[in-house]
């Protein structure tokens, strides 16, 4: 099986879902990303990315937790699947390898 590709934003969303643990759904993910990264993300972008990640098998979801604030509608809570965790780990290890391979003087120049 070919390795699934994880886009930059997908990585961010996936990580955020992992961070939020049990309480990850559309609204919390959007707000979390906004607060943590400081970038303005549209809800629709987050929503489609969540959908896509679920299609790819990195996320699973279930519906629950209707509140009056939402007009009685349920939320779709996302959790990271085993495949998702593996993909995240893979990305992390690639990054780390790359960081490790950086020559020390360059690292210094970057203020690291």
């Amino acid at each position: 099986m070919k390795r699934a590709f994880l886009g930059e934003f997908e990585e961010v969303v996936l990580l955020t879902v992992a961070v939020l643990d049990e309480s990850a759904y559309g609204v919390t993910v959007t707000q979390e990303i906004e607060q943590k990264t400081g970038r303005a993300v549209g809800f629709s972008t987050v929503h489609t990315t969540l959908q896509r990640l679920e299609e790819k098998g990195y996320l699973s979801s279930k519906m629950s937790g209707a509140t009056a604030e939402r007009g009685g509608r349920r939320k779709r809570f996302f959790t990271v699947t085993a495949a998702g965790r593996k993909a995240l780990m893979e990305v992390k290890s690639i990054r780390e390898q790359l960081w490790d391979a950086l020559p020390p003087q360059t690292l210094q120049l970057m203020g690291g």
Binding site: T30, S44, T45, H47, T48, E55, T67, G71, R74
Partner: protein
Amino acid sequence: MKPPTPKPPRWATSLLDWLGDPNTVEEVQGDLLELYAYWVKTVGERKADWRYVLSALKLLRPLANRKKAESNPFFLHPAMVRNYFKIALRNLLKHKGYSGINMGGLAVGMAVALLTGLWIYDELSFNRYHQHYDRIALVMQNQVVNGELHTSQSLPYPFIQELKSNYSSPFKHIVTATHLDDHILTAGETKLSKRGQFIGAEAPEMLTLKMVEGTRAGLQDPQSILLSASTAKALFGNADPINKPVKINTDWLVKVTGVYEDLPQNTQFHDAQFLASWEYFVANNRYMRDKKWDNHALLIYVEIQPNTDFDKATATIKDSELNAIRHLESMKEEAATRPQMWLHPMRDWHLYSDFKNGVVGKGPVQYVWMVGLIGFFVLLLACINFMNLSTARSEKRAKEVGIRKTVGSRRSQLMGQFFSESLLVVFLSFLIALLLATVSLPWFNNLAAKQMTIPWANGYFGLFCLGFIGITGFLAGSYPALYLTSFQPIQVLKGGGSARLQRGRSASIPRQILVVTQFTVSIALIISTLVVYRQIQFAKSRPVGYARDGLLLVPMQSDDFYGKTALLRNELKNTGVVSEVAESQSPITGVWSSNEGFSWKGMPPGLNERFATLTVSPEYAETVGWQFSGGRNFSKELASDSAGFIINETAAKLLGFRQPVGEFVRWKSQWMTNNVEKQFRILGVVKDMVMESPFKPIKPTVFFLFGSPNWINIKIRPGADAGNALSQIEAVFKKLIPAAPFEYKFADEEYDAKFRAEERIGKLATFFAVLAIFISCLGLFGLASFVAEQRTKEIGVRKVMGASVLNLWRLLSKDFMVLVLLAFGIATPVAAYFLRSWLQQYDYRTELSWWIFAASGVGALVITLLTVSFQSIKAALMNPVKSLRSE
């Protein structure tokens, strides 16, 4: 409490509701609401609104998540398509009767559409055989005569020189020609009368004739002739015709320099069985050169240069003749007609060749429209059948649709199923239609006087067939596909009577509309057929004014005839089979000469009436059986009779004398009296003779003795055997005029030929009407059987309760009768309108009598009744025990 919480824009929410992905719409809307509240708090209401709308818009389905959420197979998945066809085939085989009616009707309709399509193609492709087809034109001339614009193709001789020397720049070829005419061709012992033209040397090149032998340069030598392949075969058999001598009109010696492939029947030059040199014609007819601007006798074909168009070329030559004759003293009268030259493109020769006062008349193009329309209607009728039967049978398929829907079929998939079903039926019907068309083509060719073939090898034809199947399949399948797939599964599966009834009532209305449409078309066609036949009968029963039986017409084709007529007459009468012989100008079935310049006592000033002016010999009266209504015949003994007229009743009415016999008419004509006014005494008045079209008014006619007759009329003695008489007459001609072949026409056959165009329309109309009725009845038959079947239980209960067969029959037939009556009500005014305008073109025409409409209505009603009764009586006779036992 807080002031009312701000609400997100309603429309965005509904939009999302409607177009959002149904699988995620719930949480998306919830999330958005939650976010909205958050946004209102953090960035204010306006920005929140804006963000909400933007997010909602981005989440609409076409933009977001394109993937199908359901794991439904694509509706054109091969497995599905195979399944569709399997079910379709099973359905066809299960209901053989319905399938037969369906496909039979559709096949007949498609065959008709194919035939009419071929016919239209043939009409539209007229003259396309010539490669330079769209650059060839005929030079035409408009002249104002008596305040009316006359259009003619005949041009004066001096115009050739004028055109060639002063106006030649827009033209690639300028080709002069004589009118198409019969000429005698002699090769050795073989003598044939063939139609041909004397034409300029560039003609074969311009017309891109396909030479079988020789070259297109064959006419360069004046003493040469090009023969069509069939003429060459008729003259020389299988021998090589090249360089063989041929005599034209017995004395002009030419040699064959080429043979061209026969021109197809749908070309204007098809009738030209040989082409000879124009130069040679002029050389042999020196008088041609002396003809002035006011004698119109020849044709000029042109091919324009590729860099110009007809309009520009027309503009160039428009006043060419007028400019040339404006200052000529002798051409004052001609110039007064303001001759205008223009180009009539080859592509319009066939369909737009009627000119009335300078404007294109209806002409043959109206028949193209008419036939196309009728072909379309017949096909439509067949499609309606298909729709009606499919929807009527929907009861049977409703459960299938219900099951399919509950199992998870989408509407689009079911539509695909029904469309593929109709495509299958249409495809099978098309195969039958092709067979039918192929089989009936010779007969149709005969009817339409054409030589059409089905262009199997033509790639476009294949393409056309596919398109045709597609369109018909779509037309016929659209209604069932839309209607059947709209069922609610819960209703059909519950199978409750109420649901069925509800559906039945609203569903039967479109069906009824379709039946009414069918019968409207059918009844209109019946009415048209009747009217066309009435018109023909009406004209046929018109008093003719002469006796056609045993009247033989012989054209004097060559000079050999002249001076021998007295001898001929004697010899012919001596055979004993001939009662009288006379000469005349024009055959009795045509008026070939008419002139102006008459004046008489009491004539309204300024009138310059055109009379038919015909030369006859004194025996003419006896030969054709003139019926005198006053006065006497010409007499050979009285020399003064050479200044006498016999006139017909129309002329007598025009002249206005109370007692025309003995009165005088003065006549001054350039052609007939050498421009000198002469006085003629009216000797007798004869009954009007129908010499020209029997649908037109009779021309005022004068008969006289001087002039040059060109036909011999021979009356065979009544009671004589025609075959024997003919061979005796031929023997006399062979003996006295050996150079010319014996050519003759029978007056009655010539007369009957005048009705041919109308009879053809009549036959075509009958053909279409019969088919339309057949197809409509086929549909009705299926529908009636369906209704009877549907109401089996009702009929059973009614019978048990004591209803009689008659009651039941009335119950079942009534509905259909109402529809037919309605159709009759619509068809009558529509048909009346169109037929009235059709009849307008005939001067001598029948009236649209009410009984024609009544008869058509009654006829349609009877046919419907018969069709429906078969089914309804069958249903009414059924044993109720059988129909009720399953309950």
